[in-house]
C-alpha cells in the first residue's frame, strides 16, 4: 500500500508516514526536510507539513550501513518550498530556492558586508543568503528616520545619531565574524586582514557555525569565496574589478588594491 504525497500542501497536513512499503514489498523510508516536521498520529510516525507551498520529494542515497542491513530499499527526503517569490526566484530555474524565512546554517553561502576589521578578525553583517534572498525586508532607510541629516536635538540625546550612507545600522541584521585563520586555506600564517578585506567590502562566504549569541562564524577559505564587490580607497573611490585572487583594479585609474578575491576567473 502506498500513500500518495500531495503536490501542494498547507501547514498541518500529513504528507506521508515515515515508512511505506512499495509494491515489491520493500520498505521506503521518508525523512523530514525543510518545511516539514515529524509527528505522531495514532502512534505512527508521520511527516507533517509546516508551510504552504509545493512538496518536493528527492531521493537520498543510502549509507553503506543501511545497504548492508537491507531493511530499507530506498530513502526520500520530503521538503516543502514556500510559494512566495524571493530575490533568487527569477535567476534560478533549477529550483534551488530556499524559503525566505530561512536562517543561515552550517554550510550555507551568504553575502556579507564588512563592518570593521581588526588584526584577528573581520566583523561583518549578513545581508543575503544565496538562493534565499535578502535578510531583512527593508534596509535601514528611514529605520531611524534617516533622511539627509540626522540631527539630535539637545534634550533627546538618547536618539542614535547615525550619519552613514544609509546602510542598515539599526542592528537589524545578523552579525558574523571571519577570523584571520579562516580567510584562505593556504599559507594561513601569512594572512593579514588588511590585505584581504576592507570595511564596506561585500564578501561571499560560507557559514562555519552558527556561533554564539552575537555572531555567526564564517569562512572564505575556498576559491569561490572572498570579496565580490569593493570600492577603492576604503570605499571612497571607484568600483574595482578582480584581476587575480589577491588583487583588484580600478580600470579607469589603474589603482590596484589587495583583496582576497572570490573566483576571479
Amino acid at each position: 500500500m502506498t500513500i500518495d504525497i500531495p503536490k501542494y500542501t498547507f501547514p498541518g497536513q500529513p504528507l506521508s508516514p515515515v515508512y511505506q512499503s512499495s509494491n515489491n514489498k520493500s520498505i521506503i523510508e521518508y525523512i523530514p526536510g525543510n518545511g516539514t516536521i515529524l509527528s505522531k498520529i495514532n502512534n505512527i510516525d508521520v511527516i507533517n507539513s509546516t508551510l504552504l507551498g509545493n512538496v518536493k520529494v528527492n531521493e537520498v542515497l543510502l549509507t553503506d550501513e543501511e545497504v548492508a542491513e537491507k531493511t530499507i530499499s530506498q530513502k526520500f527526503k520530503i521538503e516543502v518550498i514556500n510559494n512566495k517569490q524571493n530575490e533568487y526566484s527569477e535567476l534560478n530555474d533549477n529550483g534551488i530556492i530556499i524559503n525566505n524565512t530561512y536562517l543561515p546554517k552550517e554550510g550555507d553561502i551568504v553575502l556579507v558586508r564588512v563592518l570593521k576589521i581588526s588584526l584577528k578578525q573581520a566583523n561583518v553583517e549578513i545581508i543575503a543568503i544565496e538562493n534565499s534572498g535578502n535578510i531583512s525586508k527593508e534596509s535601514g532607510i528611514g529605520m531611524n528616520g534617516y533622511q539627509q541629516s540626522n540631527v539630535t536635538s539637545g534634550s533627546n540625546g538618547q536618539f542614535l545619531s547615525i550619519i552613514n550612507n544609509g546602510l542598515n545600522e539599526s542592528g537589524e541584521n545578523f552579525r558574523g565574524i571571519i577570523r584571520v585563520q579562516d580567510i584562505r586555506s593556504t599559507e594561513k600564517d601569512k594572512v593579514k586582514i588588511v590585505e584581504s578585506f576592507k570595511p564596506n567590502d561585500i564578501i561571499r562566504a560560507k557559514v562555519l557555525s552558527i556561533g554564539d549569541g552575537q555572531n555567526y562564524y564564517l569562512t572564505t577559505n575556498e576559491n569561490e569565496f572572498g570579496v565580490v564587490f569593493a570600492k577603492s580607497q576604503n570605499g571612497n573611490g571607484q568600483l574595482m574589478y578582480p584581476i587575480d585572487w589577491q588583487n583588484m583594479i580600478v580600470p579607469s585609474t589603474g589603482e590596484i588594491e589587495l583583496r582576497k578575491c572570490a573566483k576571479p576567473f
Binding site: 498541518g12 507551498g53 510559494n83 525566505n100 525586508k137 554564539d212 549569541g213
Partner: protein
C-alpha cells in the same frame, strides 16, 4: 499619551474629548440580527474578507474584514535578537488599536492570548538566535463591549493567515471561534486540541458538562473555520 510627550505634537492640554449622546433605539433591532448571525458560522464566513501579503516590508501580512471589524496583522522575522545565544526563537506580540477603544489591560490580555496560542504552534526550533514579532493593527471595531472576544477570535485567525503568508513554519492551522452566550473564545489545532481559551461569562455553570457543551459547539465551528481557511489558502496557489 502623557502631556509631557515632547516627541509628538499633541495640541493644547485642556481639551475635552468628544462625548456622543446615547444612540437612538433603532440599533437594538440590528443587534438582534447580529446575535442570530452569531449562531450561524457559515454565514459569518461568507461575509469575511481576507487578503494576504499587502504589507510588502513585512515578512508576512494579512488583512481581515468582518462586519465592521478591520484587522491587519504583519509578521516581522525571524530577525536577530541581541544578547546571549538562544536555541529557539522568541515571540512577541504588539497590538495597536487605531480606534482607541481597547483598554491597556485588555490589550495586554489579547496579546498574551495570541502569544500563548502561537508559541505552541510555531516550529520554534527552526529559528535559533532570532525573534518573531507579530504586529496587530485594529483599524475598526464594531460593538466592542459585546463582541470583544469575537474580535479576539478574528485577530487570532488573521494571525494564523499572516504567519502562513510569512513562510514561518507552523505545525498546524489555529482556528478560533467565539460563543456569544458564554462570551468565550477558544482556539483549536489538529482535531480539537485546545491551545487557547478565554471566557468572561457572568453565568455560573452548573457543572462541567455545561462547559463541555460549549467546547463541543465551538470545536465544530472551528472545524468549519479551519476548512474555509484551508480553502482560501489552497485557492491562492
Amino acid at each position: 499619551m502623557s502631556t509631557l510627550d515632547r516627541r509628538r505634537i499633541l495640541g493644547p492640554a485642556n481639551v475635552k474629548p468628544l462625548i456622543f449622546g446615547l444612540s437612538s433605539s433603532q440599533s437594538k433591532q440590528e443587534n438582534k440580527i447580529e446575535e442570530e448571525e452569531e449562531e450561524d458560522i457559515n454565514s459569518q464566513i461568507s461575509k469575511t474578507f481576507i487578503k494576504t501579503g499587502l504589507i510588502t516590508n513585512a515578512n508576512g501580512s494579512s488583512y481581515l474584514e468582518y462586519n465592521g471589524n478591520i484587522i491587519s496583522v504583519s509578521i516581522y522575522g525571524p530577525r536577530p535578537v541581541r544578547g546571549t545565544f538562544t536555541e529557539k526563537t522568541s515571540l512577541d506580540v504588539h497590538l495597536d488599536d487605531n480606534t482607541e477603544t481597547i483598554s491597556d489591560l485588555l490589550n495586554k490580555k489579547f496579546c498574551n492570548y495570541i502569544e500563548n496560542n502561537f508559541t505552541t504552534v510555531i516550529n520554534l526550533n527552526k529559528y535559533p538566535k532570532s525573534g518573531i514579532s507579530i504586529f496587530i493593527n485594529v483599524l475598526s471595531i464594531n460593538n466592542f463591549q459585546k463582541y470583544k472576544y469575537k474580535l479576539l477570535s478574528l485577530i487570532s485567525d488573521a494571525t494564523t493567515i499572516a504567519l502562513i503568508n510569512s513562510g514561518i513554519e507552523i505545525i498546524d492551522i489555529v482556528s478560533s471561534t467565539f460563543d456569544l452566550n458564554s462570551n468565550t473564545v477558544i482556539s483549536f489545532i489538529k482535531s480539537n486540541e485546545i491551545v487557547g481559551l478565554l471566557s468572561d461569562s457572568n453565568k455560573i455553570y452548573k457543572d462541567v458538562n455545561d462547559f463541555n457543551k460549549i467546547i463541543k459547539k465551538l470545536g465544530n465551528d472551528s472545524n468549519i473555520v479551519k476548512n474555509s481557511l484551508i480553502n482560501y489558502l489552497m485557492s491562492g496557489n
